[in-house]
């Protein structure tokens, strides 16, 4: 991060491999932070409605994603 010019040029990189890798990592990071913050909010007694408002998504979306089993690994027997 020391070389600001280098970072700036990479951010505007024409190489799709560089740009897409960055997007992918950002997405992972966002997911991690979201999980952490939603859990924190729940621990502090926030409702899914309140959390959804802050995240700018529907209550159903937050609930589906963060309550109980989620994702492709959920087993339906």
């Amino acid at each position: 991060m020391a070389d600001t010019a280098e970072v700036a040029s990479a951010a505007g990189s024409r190489d799709p491999a560089v740009g897409l890798s960055a997007v992918r990592s950002l997405r992972i990071l966002v997911e991690r932070l979201e999980t952490l913050q939603v859990q924190n909010a729940r621990d502090q007694g926030w409702t899914y409605e309140q959390i959804a408002q802050r995240l700018g998504v529907s209550r159903q979306a937050v609930h589906k994603k963060h309550a109980g089993g989620r994702g492709p690994l959920r087993r339906r027997g």
């Binding site: 991060m1 990189s13 960055a22 990592s25 990071l29 932070l33 690994l73």
Partner: protein, 181 residues
């Protein structure tokens, strides 16, 4: 049923058990059967999967993503000016060490002894027998297990295939060809 399995097919089952154990899973699901198939380097069936872009490495990566356990790439984040260490320090200051890492619910717990098949994985093995019988094969080969996975059509393994953009129909056709060779 296992007495009808060929040596290769037995190896797939053994490998799938190893894969489950390595992932600290206390069950063998379709995803582990798929990994078991992909472990058989040099097998024609394994080669078909690889031709369709599904190597063991790719499969493990997909599975990791499904579980939300992808690796954060500090270098990639650096290219858009995000200092992962700084983010990590900030998060850990509030939420404690390792807060940014996704803990596997089973991690640390050693899975010992016999690991049972899930209902769906059992179904896949039954279907592999049916595939072998339908093809009038002498025994159940690893390719028949692959056909069983495709026939069952709805497990985590199928989601992994879909994620990699693998066409199940084309895969099925090629595996059948390989088995008939």
């Amino acid at each position: 049923m296992f007495e009808r399995f060929t040596q290769e097919a037995r190896q797939v089952v053994v490998s799938s058990q190893d894969e489950a154990r390595q992932l600290h899973h206390n069950f063998i699901g379709t995803e582990h059967l798929l990994l078991g198939l992909l472990d058989q380097a040099g097998s024609p069936t394994c080669a078909v999967f690889e031709r369709h872009g599904l190597t063991r490495t790719a499969a493990v990566e997909v599975l990791r993503r499904f579980a939300g356990q992808e690796q954060l790439d500090a270098a990639a984040l650096g290219t858009v000016g995000i200092d992962l260490d700084a983010v990590r320090n900030s998060v850990e200051a509030t939420f404690g060490a390792g807060a940014l890492d996704v803990p596997s619910p089973d991690k640390g717990r050693e899975v010992k002894g016999h690991i049972p098949f899930t209902r769906r994985a059992k179904k896949v093995l039954e279907l592999s027998l049916r595939e072998a019988v339908a093809m009038k094969s002498d025994g159940i080969a690893d390719g028949h297990i692959a056909l069983g996975l495709l026939r069952e059509g709805d497990g985590v393994a199928m989601k992994m295939l879909a994620d990699r953009g693998v066409d199940p129909a084309a895969l099925r056709e090629e595996i059948t060809t390989v088995l008939s060779a």
